[in-house]
């Protein structure tokens, strides 16, 4: 059987793809920003917190990293609704993505924080900085600089994984594609186009993170050296 590719639906549908991409960007940027805050907080608690807090954070990280995102999304969306907490699909998607990426960020940032030299902390002590000041002014930024490549590739993976939220009918790129293919019956072509859009998005994200890295890590920009 010979199959004729027909991309003619693009002529009138291309704005829908862009709109879907924009929805995915909104969804994932919110999830990444919140997830980063959650993850960094947890990483600080994991390293400097008391025994109980440390173990709690450790449990959170292990549970999230060893279960599928899809199941986490189902628990947040269907599970919470069944005990009376009805959230919209988009809100559930964001909550699940934040919980998910927060756990990965915790583990990555923990590695960064633990890599900061002891002498740095001692020097901060000598300057009379409090524990909190030390963490904020001495530890966090260099820690982030060291693990930034791992962090940004984790965030790109999250952006791609966010396609799964289409399963609870959150509005984003994959859901848009599902809608278009159900109307045009051109599923192969539609998913090829969507794959290309995701590819473009992942390049866009990588470029954005490179740019953020350039702006944030002044020493690397000015001296051209890593830590």
């Amino acid at each position: 059987m010979t199959y004729k590719f027909d991309f003619s639906f693009l002529a009138e549908r291309w704005p829908a793809f862009l709109e879907g991409a924009w929805l995915t960007i909104q969804l994932t940027v919110v999830a990444i920003v919140l997830g980063f805050v959650v993850g960094t907080l947890c990483a600080v608690l994991r390293v400097y917190g008391g025994g109980v807090v440390r173990r709690l954070v450790g449990g959170y990280v292990e549970i999230i990293r060893n279960t599928p995102l899809l199941v986490q999304i189902f628990i947040v969306y269907f599970g919470l609704a069944s005990v009376g907490l009805k959230l919209s699909a988009e809100l559930s998607a964001i909550i699940a993505l934040v919980i998910n990426v927060g756990a990965y960020t915790t583990e990555i940032m923990r590695a960064g924080i633990e890599s900061i030299g002891k002498t740095q902390l001692e020097a901060a002590d000598c300057l009379g900085l409090t524990r909190l000041q030390t963490i904020f002014h001495i530890v966090l930024l260099p820690a982030m600089e060291r693990v930034f490549p791992a962090l940004s590739s984790q965030f790109v993976l999250l952006m791609l994984a966010s396609s799964v939220t289409s399963q609870i009918s959150a509005e984003e790129l994959t859901a848009t594609a599902n809608l278009i293919q159900s109307e045009t019956y051109r599923s192969f072509e539609v998913y090829v186009v969507v794959a290309v859009v995701y590819l473009a998005l992942s390049f866009l994200y990588r470029f954005a993170f490179w740019l953020i890295g350039r702006l944030l890590f002044v020493r690397r920009r000015k001296l051209g050296t890593a830590l």
């Binding site: 059987m1 199959y3 292990e62 549970i63 990293r65 060893n66 279960t67 599928p68 995102l69 899809l70 199941v71 986490q72 189902f74 628990i75 269907f78 599970g79 919470l80 609704a81 069944s82 005990v83 791609l160 994984a161 396609s163 799964v164 289409s166 399963q167 994959t174 594609a177 293919q181 019956y185 051109r186 599923s187 192969f188 998913y191 090829v192 969507v194 794959a195 995701y198 590819l199 992942s202 390049f203």
Partner: protein, 215 residues
Amino acid sequence: MNQFTSVHAIYLLEAARWTLLLSLIALMGGGVLGLALALGRVSRIATLRFIATAYIQLIQGTPLLVLLFLSYFGLSMAGYRLDPVVAAGLSLTIYVGAFLGEIWRGCIEAVPRTQWEASDCLGLNRFQQYTHVILPQAVRIATAPTVGFMVQVVKNTSLASIIGFVELTRAGQIVNNSTFQPFLVFLFVGAIYFAICYPLSVASRVLERRLHVAR
């Protein structure tokens, strides 16, 4: 209304077999593909390097879900109707291959340059260098990250539920449809995944530590 009982629990545990089987298919297929890609990435032939790099960039920049839709809905529209298990196995193989290829490239490159030079001096050809000198050492380096990546593979098989393959997550949906206790059902499903993945995570960490001690 149907309550969640031991019958459901046993059904879910049995469905986990399909998750394991699918993981195994993905690992074996992806392993073969990944080895080819890793060797392509470090090849002396520029065309091979380019093809392997392009493949990895392409697949790592697309969500697994879209690959699944392409191979299941897409190919069936194009006249090639695949079973859900075949479509899932195929797309997971394509996906896992790209990631293993990149992980293993790093492991091959982590073998010190001097090993290449020494085996050159011994008069080994490229093939002999790989089989007798480089790969045995690369395998040692690769063990921990590969076991760690197996966790990702097991978790990613959950996406096969979306195209209707009855593995653990899909079984959870089926049970939920009859009991209407999503919280309980999906927590149970999550616990089974955890029971599969956590030992792998721990093993990966232990292997990594052992490797560093041996150095």
